[in-house]
């Protein structure tokens, strides 16, 4: 993946602007509700996650991925309001997008 940047500026022609909202347990690591960034045109959801792993380190990576390229079952990602499972998974292309990344607590106990 080409280099990505966290930017407040408008995206260049070869770049896309991505807004990310974090919900659930990931907020404890990211320490922000929202993040705006630019990514190279053609970037995918997988590229976005790689960038976020680089930015937030091992805790983020270990909470999001159960193994390389495979999300934990409690991770939800919505791309422009649609579950990425329904639009191509980690390979889904990002346009100028709004992405929600959610780590849900495990549900139900005793």
């Amino acid at each position: 993946m080409a280099k990505a940047d966290l930017k407040e500026n408008a995206a260049q022609a070869s770049e896309i602007s991505v807004k990310v909202r974090f919900m659930g347990d990931l907020r404890a690591i990211v320490k922000k509700r929202d993040l705006e960034m630019t990514l190279p045109t053609g970037s995918t959801v997988g590229d976005l996650l790689t960038f976020l792993c680089d930015s937030f380190g091992d805790p983020f990576t270990s909470w999001v991925f159960s193994q390389p390229g495979k999300l934990h079952h409690y991770i939800l990602i919505f791309l422009n309001g649609r579950n990425v499972k329904d639009v191509g998974g980690l390979g889904a292309r990002l346009g100028d997008s709004e992405v929600e990344i959610i780590m849900l607590p495990m549900f139900e106990g005793g």
Binding site: L104, P105, G109, G110
Partner: protein, 840 residues
């Protein structure tokens, strides 16, 4: 006088039976079981019948309250003052807004399993951004069974298939006699099974209700279940040679080759585990299409089959050694193992509705008892292995995984994953389930509950009272500042040592929660919100049974919707609408809706839309129509109560169609343990890694060692009554009368032991644990292990808002030491057997 019967769902415990409520002139006159509801088939328990007395409890909270006394404590009067809803919600919103930049300072105790609040608070917590959401009520129950079941069966809980079982062993559970999900359904199945000759063996320190119905009660020393299971496995595998080889070869990781380092032998290219194929004498990956005769004995290139290692390992537990640990006579264990193995009819099949299925009419069932120990995971897991080695999983007569799969109204099914093993369980709600495989990679703790150091656990709340004593010791630079909670009583039921709980709750600057009556938890609240009775409210979720613990087998799947049968007082509002208002006022309503839409699989045109505000009736109507079609909205459910959906054989018995292997060897525990050592070594925290092993060992609880050393002479354990089960009953005068009539408030002690101590039946005695000393009345019986004191129910109240319950019985949890040495390092379960002294 006009009288009508209204269908709705009971809310006296988490089961949620279908009921018909007789109402005359706006008053509830009677409650009966709904014969059309598969949940309970018209049956009612004493507690359900007594629900009318909860509704008309004169001490119910009916208006918002605030405390006027800033001092907090277990026995401190909060100085309640009635306030308006606006003042109550403004106060809660202001405190949430104050931590919104660091939302992990919020802890939500979310267990309110009788209705919607549980899942709605789950969504609220995630929308707000806190990881500190507690999804369970107990310090032990559910902490092992659910993660184990999801990776070795595919569903939420386990349940013996009483329709076909011929030999059922209950270990530390009173299944289908005094406890468990779908209780009022399965108790009739249990009666039928016993009548047709199923042998029931109960292994339990206490000969309680379950033992009274059993063919045989086997007293066991608390905390020794591992040894019992390993001894059974040894007799079956090594002495008798009874096991389902075909099932182990093709449906488990028994043939996976294990190297000398304990890890799988893996294909260098793909990284997949290897199996030795005896047909052409070659190592192959587990999913090689040419694999025809996977070897589970002998050896392969570079390693030995996991099953071979397991057989060798369990040989360390001959019945004579097991007798020393458990006190179960060696000849008894050998006989039970032989009866169990012979009854399994390995190799037989049965045809149901034209479908031929493996027939394994035996199972071992366990629940709360084995989980509640310092090594709770390994106390429990070998019990499940007894079913797996017999091939008795998700097939007729065996152990069933509850709610694992279904085809309607959605399609949900367990799936394989890493290394070909069962990884994703089935769940009708689109929510992550408890999971012990493959686990998470440990990291330095950010969370107050130290979740990062428990990479295989699903729940973590037992750690909070411990870390709150000294957060910096765990590298944490903040504290919980706001606690929101459901009406359940976490002070008495969710943790251990009351002094630790008091200290934890006093450390939280702002607490707010719902209340039915003002219980011991509410004594710490700054704001109390009234909670409607289950007879006054709507819930799309009306108990746990439909989604998580329905009756197994071919009984209909069903869904019921709770509706009010009488009007709530005007001063009580629907809890769902309160949460929507708070979410709106703190600016997270859109995210809250997003998560509710996901949870309930709501798509256009039923999805909740950001910016809109909905009455609870519209939300539930959308959910109902989304799931069951336009014609089955809320009005249909108000008329009919429950929708029934027949299940076919494939849904009822998923074993043969499951495209995943079950584990017998837990390689990933080695990996997680090694990773954990690296992380913990950087923190300076003392940690016990002995549980991170792929094959279970019996390891003693602190209470076992304390008794061995002579510091104490007895071990206290908890047990359940069918009429005091799952909460919301202790302040009920009818339940109280039953408890008084049955001596339920007494602690029980072995008669011979009592005589040696000079204690007579009915004597007042002191019961002293390392952290608590209480007065109790002793009931003497032969039906208890001689080293054990039994403390039943959920008693020991002192809150002024519960005058009927005050001063009766003992609160078991308060006896429990609460520190890292008493926490299971796999599951976070708090050790529930505690050394005690008992004297006059």
């Amino acid at each position: 006088m006009a009288s009508k019967w209204i269908p709705t769902a009971c809310g006296m415990c988490y089961v949620g039976c279908g009921v018909l409520v007789q109402v005359e002139d706006g008053l509830v006159m009677n409650i009966e079981g709904d014969p059309n509801n598969p949940q309970n088939r018209g049956n009612m328990c004493a507690k359900g019948k007594a629900g009318i007395m909860n509704l008309y409890n004169p001490n119910r909270v009916k208006v918002p309250l605030k405390r006027t006394n800033p001092k907090k404590g277990l026995h401190v009067d909060p100085g309640w003052q009635e306030i308006s809803w606006e003042e109550a919600l403004s106060s809660i919103v202001a405190n949430l807004q104050a931590i919104q930049e660091n939302p992990k300072k919020l802890y939500i105790h979310g267990w309110e399993i009788t209705g919607d609040l549980h899942s709605w608070l789950h969504a609220f917590a995630s929308a707000f951004g806190t990881p500190h959401y507690s999804s369970n009520a107990s310090a032990t129950c559910g902490k092992v069974i659910h993660p184990v079941e999801f990776f070795s069966g595919g569903g939420f809980h386990q349940q013996p298939d009483l329709h076909y079982s011929n030999y059922c062993i209950l270990v530390g559970t009173q299944f289908a006699i005094a406890a468990r999900g779908a209780f009022n359904h399965v108790l009739r199945d249990m009666a039928d099974a016993r009548a047709r000759g199923m042998k029931l063996v109960v292994v339990d320190p206490i000969g309680g209700n379950a033992a009274s119905k059993a063919d045989e009660w086997v007293p066991i020393r608390p905390g020794t279940d591992t040894a019992f299971a390993m001894g059974m496995l040894h007799v079956l595998l090594n002495e008798l040679g009874i096991y389902d080889a075909k099932f182990l070869q093709h449906k488990t990781n028994a043939p996976y080759l294990v190297g000398s380092d304990g890890h799988y032998v893996r294909d260098p290219k793909s990284g997949k585990p290897m199996i030795y194929d005896a047909a052409d004498q070659k190592n192959k990956t587990y999913d090689d299409p040419t694999l025809s005769a996977p070897a589970i004995t002998g050896g392969g290139e570079g390693g030995r089959p996991a099953f071979e290692l397991m057989r060798e390992h369990v040989a360390k537990y001959p019945p004579e050694k097991v007798e020393e640990i458990t006190t179960i006579p060696a000849k008894t264990l050998r006989r039970i193992a032989r009866e169990f193995g012979e009854a399994a009819r390995v190799g037989s099949s049965i045809t149901i509705d034209g479908v031929e299925l493996p027939y394994r009419p035996v199972c071992v069932d366990w629940a709360k008892g084995p989980q509640g120990h310092k090594h709770g995971f390994h106390q429990s897991w070998p019990l499940k292995l007894l079913n797996i080695v017999m091939g008795a999983v998700n097939v007729p007569g065996g152990i069933m995984s509850t709610a694992a799969a279904g085809k309607r109204p959605h399609h949900w099914w367990p799936e394989g994953g890493l290394d070909g093993l069962l990884e994703k369980g089935g769940n009708v709600l689109d929510l992550p389930h408890a999971k012990t495989f493959p686990g998470r990679t440990p990291t330095k703790p950010v969370r107050m509950d130290l979740a990062e150091l428990f990479p295989l656990a699903p729940h973590f709340q037992t750690l909070l009272p411990i870390t709150s004593q000294d957060p910096e010791r765990y590298g944490l630079s903040y504290q919980i500042e706001v606690l929101l909670h459901t009406p359940t009583n976490s002070v008495l039921g969710t943790f251990g040592d009351l002094k630790m709980v008091e200290s934890f709750y006093r450390s939280i600057p702002f607490m707010a929660g719902f209340a039915v009556e003002l219980n011991e938890t509410n004594l710490f609240d700054d704001i109390v919100l009234p909670f409607p009775s289950y007879l006054e409210r709507y819930d799309f979720n009306s108990g746990i049974t439909s989604r998580s613990i329905p009756p197994c087998g071919q009984d209909d799947w069903f869904w019921q919707v709770r509706q009010p049968v009488v009007d709530a007082p005007n001063s009580i509002r629907p809890p769902q609408e309160i949460l929507m208002e708070i979410a709106d006022r703190v600016g997270i309503l859109g995210d809250f809706y997003r998560l509710l839409n996901h949870t309930y699989r709501l798509k256009e045109p039923y999805a909740l839309e950001p910016g809109n505000h909905y009455p609870v009736t519209e939300v539930i109507d959308r959910m109902a129509r989304s799931w069951f079609g336009e014609e089955k909205g809320l009005p249909w459910f108000r008329e009919n109560g429950v929708v029934r959906i027949p299940r076919d054989v494939e849904e009822a018995y998923i074993g043969p169609s499951l495209e995943a292997r079950l584990p017998i060897y837990l390689e990933h525990l080695l990996d997680r343990g090694e990773e954990l050592k690296k992380v913990v070594s950087q923190t300076g925290i003392k940690w016990d890694f002995s549980d991170y092993k792929p094959l279970s060992e019996w390891m003693p609880c602190p209470s076992y060692e304390a008794v061995q050393k002579g510091k104490y002479d007895l071990i206290a354990v908890h047990y359940k009554f069918p009429y005091v089960y799952g909460g919301f009953g202790n302040e009920n005068p009818w339940i109280n009368e039953i408890c008084e009539q049955t001596n339920a408030y007494d602690i029980i002690l072995n008669e011979d032991v009592a005589k040696a101590k000079g204690i007579q039946d009915g004597d007042e005695v002191w019961l002293e644990s390392p952290v608590c000393k209480v007065r109790a009345r002793a009931k003497l019986t032969q039906c208890i292990h001689p080293q054990v004191v039994g403390v039943g129910g959920h008693f020991g109240h002192w809150a002024p808002g519960m005058p009927i319950a005050q001063g009766k019985g003992v609160n078991f949890n308060s006896l429990l030491p609460t520190d890292l040495d008493h926490i299971d390092k796999i599951s976070t379960a708090l050790d529930h057997c505690v050394e005690v002294r008992l004297y006059k």
